[in-house]
């Protein structure tokens, strides 16, 4: 009985570990693809260090909104852009953010996953399913 239990525990950890590893690999691939999207479409304004430009373009690094749980808001910013003057962590940013509606659900998930895990950010990955769901409501 004890032996069976040990085998069970072993199998459990092996499977869990393997699936975590698979998941890590999936996220790492998403981050890598997301970085490419970031460099082409986001970096010019939000900068290589994610620090944005004071008073013009909002920072993504250490931003409460970027690291927050309201992922649909972040998806909406990318799909629809942002023309309203909004306050972010006590600051206003003057430049308009263009819509990037040409990005695929996968690309949006990837770039958000990259942004939310890069620099000092440590927020959870964004999935294609989440993007799909939010996007369907936006149309």
């Amino acid at each position: 009985m004890q032996r069976i239990f040990i085998v069970f525990v072993f199998v459990f950890f092996f499977v869990a570990g393997a699936s975590a590893q698979t998941n890590n690999k999936v996220v790492a691939a998403s981050i890598a693809r997301g970085k490419t999207v970031y460099l082409q479409r986001c970096m010019v304004c939000h900068q290589a260090d994610g620090g944005g430009v004071p008073k013009l373009n909002a920072p993504l690094d250490a931003s409460t909104a970027v690291n927050g749980s309201d992922i649909s808001k972040l998806i909406k910013y990318i799909v629809k852009g942002l023309n309203d003057r909004i306050e972010i962590d006590g600051e206003f940013y003057a430049n308009a953010m263009p819509a990037a509606a040409d990005l695929t659900d996968q690309q949006i998930a990837d770039v958000l996953t990259f942004i939310r895990s890069n620099w000092s950010n440590k927020a959870a990955a964004v999935t294609v399913a989440q993007v799909k769901q939010t996007r369907s409501k936006l149309k």
């Binding site: 900068q47 430009v53 023309n83 003057a94 430049n95 040409d102």
Partner: protein, 425 residues
């Protein structure tokens, strides 16, 4: 006849004494041991007049040497700071604040202080000691100007004929149907130009002027932040922020390096009615040509030769010329007289290349024309040898002013440091 000569001899002696006393006064003020962190040409020295004043955009100095600083963010509800050196050591001992609005432009002409919010221009009477007669008695001379966030700062300068000139920046990058959006075409004609993207002229002695009563003095200027009336030439000069994002919007026409180096930042000598061409063109200082903007059919090769004025001077891209001042003082060596100082706020649109600017430039003038070569005059504001990301810059030069003794003042809108640069050899 002899008497006249005597008087003239006496008055030259008086002028000489005045010059000596002025230069002695400058000598008495000790610069900071590290020149306030700045690198300057030989013989120049600097000190920090004040620190942490608030995000100071433009500044004006009265005849008594007090500094009026226009703030971009309210300090306990107030938007103009007054700094005074009460013991003659060059550093400000007192700071008072007034006016309940943020903004950029501030200027002194005659017995009045003029200050701009992002929508209005106000005027305050000054008394014999250069102080505001009544801080609560602001006369609104201009009202109702466009403020849509982007490029909303209003700078001001005054001529000698009772006019104030106000820049009204275009709330747009390149007048696309959708701002800064890839694939969106330029609007033809650009409707923004009716109420922005130019310089407007108003009367200093009329209240509540609007677009309807003002004059669109010059158009086709995307976002001017530095402007100054050149008293020697009796002409308006402006510095324009050129457009952004050539690579992001047109990756097939411009690679990231070209996009970091183009278009030029430009200084224009303005005559009434001039059109500098935004959004239809941009300037390429490598080619020395006005180029057709890609939103209007340009391809990086097509030039535009007629219709629009040429810049008096062009500078590397994206450095953000925020302050312009023609030097009229006698403290600096003769070559600086009637030349232009320009405060470059520093770039952000050169990424992934390192950023540029974050310094004050001098443009020598000879016979009313720039010699064509500009030089970095004061550097080191950012506190970094290379600024990779804009948020790393500790200070960013923004406004310029000349003191009564010919010292050059520079403001910083990150921490609100006011620098004073003097010639001491």
């Amino acid at each position: 006849m002899k008497k006249v000569t005597q008087i003239s001899g006496l008055s030259s002696l008086f002028i000489l004494l005045l010059l000596v006393s002025t230069s002695t006064y400058a000598q008495k003020i000790k610069p900071d041991a590290d020149n306030a962190g700045l690198t300057l040409p030989a013989g120049f020295a600097a000190l920090k007049v004040a620190d942490n004043v608030g995000r100071t955009r433009h500044i004006a100095v009265n005849k008594q040497g007090a500094i009026y600083a226009k703030l971009e963010r309210l300090d306990n509800g107030k938007g103009i700071a007054v700094l005074k050196d009460t013991d003659g050591d060059g550093r400000a001992e007192t700071k008072t604040t007034f006016a309940n609005y943020i903004g950029t432009g501030i200027a002194i002409k005659g017995n009045y202080l003029y200050a701009a919010s992002n929508k209005e221009v106000f005027k305050y009477a000054l008394n014999a000691t250069g102080d505001i007669v009544d801080e609560n008695a602001a006369a609104t001379i201009v009202t109702g100007l466009v403020d849509k966030g982007q490029h909303n700062s209003k700078s001001i300068t005054l001529d000698n004929a009772g006019n104030v000139y106000v820049n009204i920046g275009a709330p747009s990058n390149a007048c696309q149907e959708k701002d800064r959006t890839k694939g969106s075409m330029g609007m033809m004609p650009c409707p923004i130009l009716d109420s922005a993207g130019g310089i407007w002229q108003f009367k200093v002695d009329q209240l509540n002027q609007t677009y309807a009563t003002g004059v669109r003095y010059a158009t086709g200027l995307r976002n001017v932040v530095g402007l100054d009336w050149n008293n020697q030439l009796n002409q308006l000069f402006v510095t324009q922020h050129g457009r952004d994002m050539l690579n992001n919007l047109y990756p097939d026409l411009y690679d990231t390096t070209v996009s970091a180096e183009l278009p030029s930042e430009t200084m224009y000598a303005i005559n009434k009615g001039d059109n500098a061409g935004w959004p239809y063109i941009y300037y390429d200082h490598f080619k020395g040509k006005k180029m057709m903007a890609p939103e209007y059919g340009g391809d990086g090769v097509k030039t535009v030769d007629d219709k629009y004025i040429n810049p008096a001077m062009a500078f590397p891209a994206h450095m953000a010329p925020n302050g312009l001042l023609f030097y009229t003082g006698n403290q600096f060596p003769a070559r600086y007289k009637n030349g232009a100082f320009i405060a470059f706020h520093g770039s952000w649109n050169r990424s992934p290349l390192p950023q540029e600017g974050y310094y004050v430039v001098f443009v020598p003038y000879e016979n009313g024309k720039p010699t064509g070569k500009w030089e970095v005059f004061a550097n080191g504001f950012s506190g970094k040898s290379v600024v990779k990301n804009p948020r790393d810059a500790q200070h960013r030069p923004c406004g310029l002013a000349e003191g009564p003794d010919g010292s050059l003042y520079v403001s910083d809108d990150v921490k609100g440091t006011i620098y004073r640069i003097m010639y001491q050899k």
